[in-house]
């Protein structure tokens, strides 16, 4: 694979949690890479290491050994502030529990990362409005997260994650709190983002429906990759 076309590259990645009692190997020598524009699902039972892998890729967790490159940058060389900047500029996050900022309106949440990036106010507003329009949230821009349904909140979270055109969108159990209809809508949205905007998506999930939208399904078990197959995505 040409390195230009690789967004994520993990080499011999291990993550051992030294808790009380026996150390837990959440990741055990994982080699894993993601091509630009891919839509990858990480699946596996609880404790298989899928969330850990996602977090390590996002620079939220540090591997015990091995290395992670995101868009050509070796994460192990970055300090906390630089990691934060990398997440700010290159990675979009969608969380299981939406995690919007409760004191900001939907539109302000979408603008938030652009604000951290230093995008000017007019530009911010325009992009946020466009994005909310695109996601069918045009009328909800002034509402705060508490006034939105779960599905709406997750769409706002997606809008926040992709409005800055990240190279990589990481989604941790994005459908866990959604019903199947809303999940399907969300997945259609992610697929559009993936296909039309070329955003690389990696999602950790238990959900068969989420997996079915991915072009590549990776199964983990006991911290190792059990299977890795390219599939025809659901219609």
């Amino acid at each position: 694979m040409n390195s230009e076309n690789v967004v994520v590259e993990c080499r011999q990645l291990s993550r051992i949690y030294e808790g009380e009692g026996v150390p837990v190997k959440a990741l055990d020598g994982v080699d894993f890479s993601v091509a630009r524009g891919d839509f990858v699902s990480l699946a596996g039972p609880s404790g298989s290491g899928k969330s850990t892998l996602l977090n390590v890729i996002g620079g939220l967790d540090q591997p015990t050994s091995g290395s992670v490159f995101v868009d050509g940058v070796d994460l192990s060389t970055l300090r906390q502030a630089a990691l934060a900047d990398l997440r700010l500029r290159k990675i979009g996050f969608v969380f299981q529990s939406y995690n919007l900022i409760p004191v900001l309106s939907a539109a302000e949440n979408v603008e938030f990362i652009m604000q951290l990036q230093g995008v000017g106010a007019a530009e911010r507003r325009r992009r946020a409005t466009d994005m909310l329009d695109t996601l069918g949230l045009a009328d909800l821009g002034n509402r705060r997260p508490g006034e939105l349904s779960g599905g709406q909140q997750q769409r706002v979270a997606v809008a926040r994650a992709i409005v800055t055109h990240p190279v990589l969108l990481l989604a941790d159990e994005p459908s866990a709190n959604l019903d199947s209809k809303t999940t399907k809508e969300l997945l259609e949205l992610l697929r559009t983002i993936n296909r039309q905007h070329g955003v690389t998506i990696v999602t950790a999930t238990h959900d068969q429906m989420v997996m079915s939208y991915a072009q590549r399904q990776v199964h983990l078990r006991d911290g190792r990759i059990e299977s890795d197959q390219r599939v025809a995505a659901a219609a």
């Binding site: 906390q80 934060a84 990398l86 996050f93 969380f95 900022i101 951290l116 230093g118 994650a161």
Partner: protein, 408 residues
């Protein structure tokens, strides 16, 4: 990347309203503490400056010129002569007034009692501006001029001597030649001073009349009162240069007890304030920690989406600073309001008898000093920032990953 301050301020401001009740309680506490401290400082300053002014007005002045041995042996033997055209070389704008006096120990006798006093020969016109006797309320008449050979005595002394207005008393004192002089004085007036100690210690007559009795042209002291106590050192230095063979003393040397109290009040104001604010800072820390811990997940999320640790710290600091600044500004306004409300003074006359004995006034008048208010503001902000440093540190110590897992 610079700190997106407007964003952080906006977030902090909205977060304040999120925990409305908690922050209102905290702000009220700060308002109460700051308001009380501002009023308290003004009252203590009032007491402090009254005390100093009283000390200065009690025939001391800001600066005194004395013969070298006078303070050890206060008698007419330790005196000096002034040229008739002498006056202090001090700009009128600095000088409130000055006078020369003859102060000698004397024994005063009525038909019934005998008391030891300080007999003071004064220029009644000069004293008006500079000492308590110029403004004291007098039953009967004040002294007319330097030649007035009648006596002005304190109510307390008159009481002790069992004498009263228009009666005669006999005064015995030492003349310039070392021999005793004895003279009869008619009591022209009985004065009422703030403190009974003054009423017991001093009796006044005309300076020239007393000089005649003592057979001298000399005086025992020159007393200078300034408009601003702060100019005392420079004026003092000029006097020292002028009177190189005499002693020139500032009020701090002449009234060491009052001076020590004056300094002590400066320190005690600060100590008391720091104690109050420290207690408050602990409350602030406690509230902020609760606020931070409630939002651990939010901080984790903010980290995850690209907020730097320093920005998280800044956000917590801004949040606590907003609380502190709100509480502080309202508190200062309340304090100023209370001080204005009590501007006429708090009447302590129910305790005043006891206080008069130690020379205190019966009315406590607040004296607002802007530098005290500034100190209150600065220390509050500093303590507030110090107090929020720990919660802020807790907020960034949170690992984004663990934070996000909480409660999911």
């Amino acid at each position: 990347m610079s700190m997106p301050l407007p964003l952080l301020v906006q977030l902090s401001w909205r977060n304040l309203w999120r925990a409305r009740r908690r922050n209102l309680i905290l702000i009220s506490t700060i308002v109460f503490a700051v308001g009380a401290v501002v009023l308290n400082n003004a009252l203590i300053r009032g007491f402090q400056y009254d005390m100093r002014d009283d000390a200065v007005r009690n025939l001391t002045g800001h600066i005194k010129v004395l013969a070298p041995g006078y303070r050890d042996d206060p008698s007419i033997m330790q005196s000096f002569e002034l040229g008739s055209d002498w006056r202090p070389d001090v700009a009128d704008s600095q000088l409130m007034g000055w006078t020369r006096r003859v102060v000698v120990p004397a024994v005063v006798m009525s038909e019934r009692e005998t008391r030891g006093i300080n007999l003071v020969g004064i220029d009644p016109g000069d004293e008006r501006d500079i000492s308590f006797i110029g403004g004291a309320s007098i039953a009967g008449e004040g002294l007319k001029d330097v030649g007035d050979s009648r006596l002005l005595m304190g109510a307390e002394l008159a009481d002790q001597l069992s004498t009263k207005l228009n009666r005669r008393v006999v005064v015995i004192t030492q003349g310039a030649d070392g021999l005793n002089r004895e003279a009869g004085f008619r009591i022209a007036g009985v004065f009422d001073a703030e403190g009974t100690a003054l009423e017991k210690a001093y009796a006044f007559t005309g300076r020239v009349a007393l000089q005649k009795l003592l057979d001298t042209n000399a005086v025992t002291e020159v007393s200078i009162r300034l408009n601003d106590a702060a100019s005392e050192p420079t004026v003092g230095a000029r006097m020292t240069a002028h009177f190189h063979d005499l002693e020139v003393k500032g009020w701090r040397d002449l009234e060491p007890l009052a001076a020590a109290m004056f300094e002590f009040v400066d320190v005690s104001i600060l100590i008391m304030f720091v104690i109050v604010m420290l207690a408050l800072a602990f409350g602030l820390v406690n509230t902020l920690i609760t606020a931070v811990m409630e939002r651990v997940r939010e901080f984790g999320m903010l980290r995850a989406i690209g907020m730097r640790p320093a920005q998280i710290v800044a956000q917590v600091l801004i949040e606590s600073s907003l609380v502190m600044l709100l509480g502080l500004s309202i508190g200062i306004m309340v304090g100023l309001g209370l001080t204005a409300y009590f501007a006429d003074g708090i009447d302590l006359s129910s305790f005043a008898q006891g206080m008069e004995m130690v020379g205190m006034r019966s009315k406590l008048v607040p004296r607002l000093m802007m530098e005290d208010v500034i100190v209150v503001a600065v220390i509050s902000v500093v303590l507030g920032l110090l107090g929020s440093a720990y919660p802020a540190w807790r907020a960034v110590k949170v690992k984004p990953l663990e934070a996000l897992r909480r409660g999911t």
